[in-house]
Amino acid sequence: MNAVQQIVGAAAVLVAAPCMAHHSMAMFDPAKTLTLHGTIKEFQWTNPHCFIQLLVPKAVGPAGAGSVVEWSIELNSPLASYRLGFRPRMLKPGDQVTVVISPVKDGSAGGQFISATDATGRRLPAAKEPT
C-alpha cells in the first residue's frame, strides 16, 4: 500500500471532521482527500489549533526509499477536540497511524484532519457520532 493515497471527489468528504472556523478554510481543498500512513512525530495540543506532525515515507522506489516527509495536520482547538473525544496524550511519538486529510491547495505537506485510525484499525478518537 502506498504511504499516500489520494481520492478526488465530493463524495470523499463524508467523514469530514467539524470545521471550527478560527480562520478561513479556503486554504484547504474540500474536494480532495489524502490518506496518509505514517508515524507520529509530535501531537501538538495547542491553541488555537492542535496539530499532528506525521512522518510519512516517500513514494516506494530507489530514489525515495528510507526518506520521509513531515506532514502538518491541523485539527480543532484543544477544547473543541476534547469535546469530540480527543485527549492530549492520545497520540504518542512512534505511534503508527493512518490519517485522512483534506490537503492544502498549495501542494505543501499539510492539511485539515478528517479522521484517523491506529495500527489495529481502531478509529481515533472513539468518535462521537452526530446527534
Binding site: 467539524p18 470545521c19 472556523a21 489549533h49 496539530f51 502538518s72 482547538s77
Partner: protein
Amino acid sequence: MSRSVPWICAVVAVALMSSADAEPAGSQRERALAKLPNWTGIWETEAAARLLTSHAHQFEPPKLWGKPPYNAEWSKKVASAHPQGAPPVSASPGGVPPAGVFDLPPTAKMCSAAGFPAIMEAPVPDYLFEILVTPEETLLLATDGAARHIYTDGRAHPQPDDLWPTILGDSIGRWEGKTLVIDTIARTAGQVARVPGAADLSAEAHFTERLRLIDSDTMQDDLTIDDPARFAHPWQISIRYQRVKDISRLIAIDCTENDRNPVVNGRIVISPPR
C-alpha cells in the same frame, strides 16, 4: 463580676465574627438569592453546538454579522466599502442563517477577544461561557477570558465623566420575574466582528437584552440594538443557547499560544512547527 467581663467580651467577639463571615439563615440576601433562577453551568449557542457535530462543515454565520437596518448615510458608506456588491457575509437579521456551506473571506482569522455583543453569539464551540447569578450581579465568564458584569443591585450607569467606551460596555440589569433585562451602553465603536460586512456600530449604541430560560437546558437572549446615529430603526435579534454537557469546567482558550496560520502573500498557510 469583674471575672465575667472577659468571658462576655469573648462571646460578643465570636458573635461579631460569625455575623461577618456568614449570612444568618433566612436573611434578606438569602431570600433574594432564592428568588433568582439558577443558570449555573456552561452554555453555547445552538449554532456552535450544531457545528461541533457537523460532518459537512456547516458553519453558520452569526446574525450579528448580517446587515443591520442602517440609515441612508450608513447604507451608502457600507456600499462604498463593498463596491462589488453585497458584503461577503450575509445573514437574515433575526432570521435563519443562509443555507449551504459558509466560509470566511480567504484571509479572515477570528483570534481576538470577542467583546460585546459578539460574546453573546459565538459561532464556534470553543467560545463558551458560564453564568453565575447572584442578587448583586449576574456574571458571564467566557473561555476567551472575558468577564461580563451585569450589575443588578439597583445602581445606574456611571455618569459621563466616569464612563468611557470598552469592548464589553457597561451593563446593568433588573429582574422581571425569571427574565433578566439588561441595559448596556458605552461599547467601543466598530464592527461586531473583524469580518467584512459585520454590523458596524457607534459608541452611542444602546443595547437591551431579555435573557431567560426556555427550559432547563435552553436559554434565549432577545437583543435589541438601538443606534440612532447609524440605524433607521432598532435592530432585533434572538439568540438561542444550549447547556454544554460534555465538559465539566470552563477551559481557557488562547489564540496566541501556537498560531501556525500566518497570512502569507494574501493567503493563510500552515507554518512549520516551532
